[in-house]
């Protein structure tokens, strides 16, 4: 049984934690995934501290996804709490044929969908300036990174401004790379509906980010 002390560093730690464990911001994703796999094995055998460590390593990701889906910090915190309760109760059913993080994303999507249907809330908090966004990319091309960062920033705003139904589909499919079927299943919609919403969401995002082409009419070639 693994002990807390023996657990390797995580997926999304704070910058300080990243420095202390890895000596820099570029971390080995494979190492993180292997750590999580070992922790899941231990947790499935009843090792409670192992599950707590899993929560520590993944809660920022889970909260971030919940926030992207709901657009509301309070809802995102509620959903994060619910996600880990469900994950803990159902850990025995996690077969390990998908990544643990993907399994958490699906639970998060399902919880967010339920939460939003239940409360019918459309509260929306845009990311505040004091929200700490932890950037985990490796630096290598400052100019390219600046342009990419600018597009990313505008994209994040455009995603926030999408209607919730379109936002959920595009976030789960294009940002978190869940399959069409998984997206449809967790949101409680048909696969066809998920594809239609995805197409609409992508078209809106492109048109918002690159409006220059909007005025050009269709032509035959």
């Amino acid at each position: 049984v693994a002990s807390r002390r023996g657990y390797a560093a995580g997926v999304h730690g704070t910058p300080q934690r990243i420095e202390s464990h890895h000596g820099g911001p570029c971390r080995s994703a494979a190492t993180g995934e292997e750590s999580i796999r070992l922790l899941v094995l231990a947790a499935r055998e009843g090792d409670r501290p192992a599950f707590d460590r899993l929560v520590e390593l993944t809660h920022r990701d889970t909260y971030t996804l919940a926030l992207r889906l709901t657009g509301n910090r309070e809802d995102a915190a509620d959903i994060t709490q619910e996600v880990y309760l469900r994950a803990y109760r159902n850990l025995g059913s996690f077969r390990g044929d998908a990544r643990f993080t993907t399994w958490l994303y699906r639970i998060t999507a399902n919880c967010a969908s339920t939460h939003m249907r239940r409360w019918r809330r459309h509260r929306h908090d845009p990311l505040a300036d004091d929200d700490l966004v932890i950037d985990l990319r490796c630096d290598g091309d400052p100019e390219g990174n600046a342009a990419a960062a600018d597009l990313r920033s505008r994209l994040a705003i455009a995603i926030e401004e999408l209607p919730p139904k379109l936002r959920a589909v595009v976030v789960l499919r294009d940002v978190y790379e869940l399959s069409h079927e998984a997206v449809a299943e967790e949101l409680g919609i048909s696969s066809n509906a998920a594809r239609v919403r995805l197409h609409r969401a992508r078209s809106r995002l492109r048109a918002q980010l690159f409006p220059d082409l909007a005025e050009v009419s269709s032509r035959e070639v």
């Binding site: 999304h12 704070t14 499935r44 055998e45 009843g46 409670r48 707590d52 929560v55 520590e56 809660h59 920022r60 990701d61 909260y63 971030t64 926030l67 910090r73 995102a76 915190a77 994060t80 709490q81 880990y84 309760l85 803990y88 109760r89 159902n90 850990l91 025995g92 059913s93 996690f94 990311l127 929200d131 700490l132 966004v133 932890i134 950037d135 985990l136 990319r137 990419a148 597009l151 990313r152 994209l155 994040a156 995603i159 595009v170 294009d174 940002v175 978190y176 790379e177 197409h199 992508r202 078209s203 995002l205 492109r206 980010l209 690159f210 082409l213 269709s218 032509r219 035959e220 070639v221």
Partner: protein, 118 residues
Amino acid sequence: VRCDRVRDRLSATAAGEATLDPEELLHVQRCLRCQAELAQHRRVQTSMRSIRRSAVEPGSGMLGSVLAGLEREPSPPRGRPAIAGLVGLAAAAVAGALGVAVIASRARRPLGAHGQLG
């Protein structure tokens, strides 16, 4: 082929979920507008995937709150190893075979006085 026909498929093509047929491909090769739109969809896709690597820091009390909530949970049932599943499957197969044998043996019994199964 007009832009309208191709445009609906550009986002899925950029995402690697669809491929353009030869006519559509030819159109894109000759149409600057569709080329630009496809390139923009690809940029959006790349940016989407990079967004995932940025996390928003939750409030300072959230982790503690999640862990405290878990403290109140009873221990969940442990995950069953694969061998346990196989044993269960074998037991179900044996039970099924026994059931079939019982039904077959009853079917072979002679008819009763009134021509009914005894």
